[in-house]
């Protein structure tokens, strides 16, 4: 492990930013946001950034390709820019886990090369959650907020930051920072972890359990009567999906610029009334069905297709953003109330 004094953290960040774009959480007018590092910026103390790190790898909109039509010839222009290396500092355990969930979607065959490209160029420095919030329930999905994954894991102690290289990429980067770090810090890391564990035990949502859900539970929940009351207030907006670190649905849109066509990929939301609309119409015509889709996907379909891994990381963003305060915790509790097995 390597460590650096709290007061030296900006030297360290400066060092990282010499070789790659560095993004750190910075307090903005309306909450913390990953911001490109520049001297003078200060790290946010907020637990979570408003948006997850998903945006870096799977942006809300991206221009995939352009077409130029002249007469009967269609020219295809791949205007993908060469990705630069970039480093994200301060990702939380939940966000880091979300990358694993996205990887399973985008990196399995056929590989999404846009995503893969960004993944290959990105290094994630995670940060243990010193102060989890009441909306946190990552432990439900087996995530340890005191020991996040990531290329490098960081623990913030009272006087020092401690770093632990995890992946090859991470270790390499950490090595490059030897000049601004020193060996040690294991003790600090332990203390931080213990402190975090005590707090995790006090969280109001610590008892939310996902074990009733998972692989092959489609039949059990699909026709549950509870969906009606759960979904009745849903507005059908896309807030939950857009703040979610694991939602990965997108749509492809062509935009006619008058001089050609630009093809965009943009996030879609299963909550939208025209989500996956086909020539035969909308497969999920009511909000109940759309609402059910989102939660069934996170809690049943995804695990079914991905070795039992849940499609939710318990980050709690949807809990604090939903305009009508409906969320996955309420869904899990309500559906879980029913007769088990």
């Amino acid at each position: 492990m390597r460590k650096c004094k709290v007061e030296n953290i900006y030297t360290l960040l400066g060092e990282i930013s010499k070789n790659a774009k560095l993004y750190i959480p910075v307090d903005q007018v309306n909450g913390a946001k990953f911001t490109e590092y520049a001297e003078g910026l200060t790290l946010s103390n907020a637990l979570k950034t408003e948006r997850s790190i998903k945006d870096f790898f799977f942006p809300q909109t991206e221009n995939l390709v352009d077409f130029k039509v002249s007469g009967k010839i269609i020219e295809i222009i791949d205007n993908r820019s060469e990705m630069e290396d970039f480093v994200i500092f301060g990702a939380r355990a939940c966000d880091v886990r979300s990358m694993e969930i996205l990887d399973r979607v985008f990196l399995s065959e056929p590989v999404d090369t846009y995503y893969a490209n960004r993944r290959a160029h990105g290094i994630i420095i995670s940060m243990a959650c010193n102060r989890p919030a009441e909306t946190c329930f990552c432990s439900t999905f087996g995530i340890d907020a005191s020991k996040p994954a990531g290329d490098i894991v960081c623990y913030k102690g009272e006087n020092e930051y401690v770093f632990e290289g995890v992946t090859e990429k991470g270790k390499n980067l950490l090595e490059k920072l030897n000049a601004v770090t020193e060996n040690g810090g294991e003790d600090t890391a332990k203390i931080v972890q213990t402190e975090i564990k005590t707090i995790l035990d006090k969280l109001p949502l610590k008892d939310v359990k996902a074990d009733k859900f998972g692989k092959d539970k489609t039949d059990k929940f699909f026709n549950a009567p509870e969906w009606k009351t759960l979904s009745e207030a849903c507005l059908g907006c896309g807030t939950c999906t857009f703040v979610c670190p694991t939602c990965q649905c997108y749509d492809i849109k062509d935009f006619n610029t008058n001089s050609g066509v630009k093809r965009f990929r943009c996030w879609d939301s299963c909550m939208y009334s025209d989500f996956t609309r086909m020539s035969a119409g909308q497969p999920r015509p009511t909000q109940l069905e759309r609402f059910r889709q989102r939660f069934m996907h996170k809690l049943v379909y995804y695990p079914t297709n991905n070795d039992g891994i849940f499609g939710c990381v318990g980050c709690g963003r949807c809990l604090s953003r939903c305009p009508i305060s409906m969320n996955i915790v309420k869904v899990m509790k309500k559906l879980g109330e029913g007769d088990n097995e």
């Binding site: 935009f255 610029t257 008058n258 001089s259 630009k262």
Partner: protein, 144 residues
């Protein structure tokens, strides 16, 4: 002629009964106005949806002008009264968003006012040239 002379794109929505006829009269009387102005014929100025105006700016227009019958003269009695309210609010909103307020204009031009049509277009084009390219309501995708 200068090489880099700014040639603005101006969309003029003209109602069929008054302003389009006014434009025809300007033509018949050989009253010249800049070729930058291109006219779209609509039955009445009240057919002009704010979306059309924004669309024009998106697609690269530097100015949009709507011409209709004088209040009280609408071929459809009241169409231009609605236009007047809609555009008053829309223009005010665009101004509020910091868009140059002189990029959009509403002018009443009757079928008899060929000269007014030409003068209006001359003045408007001049104004748009002085404002320069539309940057605040542009869609970069549509720029060449």
């Amino acid at each position: 002629m200068q090489v880099n002379e700014f040639k603005p794109k101006i969309v003029a929505f003209c109602c069929n009964w008054c302003s389009y006829a006014g434009a025809d009269l300007a033509g018949s009387n050989r009253l010249s106005y800049p070729a930058d102005v291109k006219i779209i014929r609509v039955p009445c100025s009240c057919r002009v949806n704010p979306m059309f105006i924004l669309r024009a700016f998106q697609r690269g227009a530097d100015g949009v002008i709507i011409c209709g019958c004088h209040p009280g003269d609408c071929h459809y009695t009241s169409g231009n009264y609605y236009t007047r309210r809609r555009m008053a609010l829309l223009f005010s909103m665009l101004d509020y968003l910091g868009i140059e307020k002189d990029r959009m204009r509403l002018e009443w031009v009757s079928a008899a006012e060929g000269a007014k049509f030409a003068t209006t277009m001359n003045e408007f084009t001049e104004k748009i040239i002085s404002l320069g390219e539309n940057k605040r309501l542009e869609d970069l995708r549509c720029k060449k």
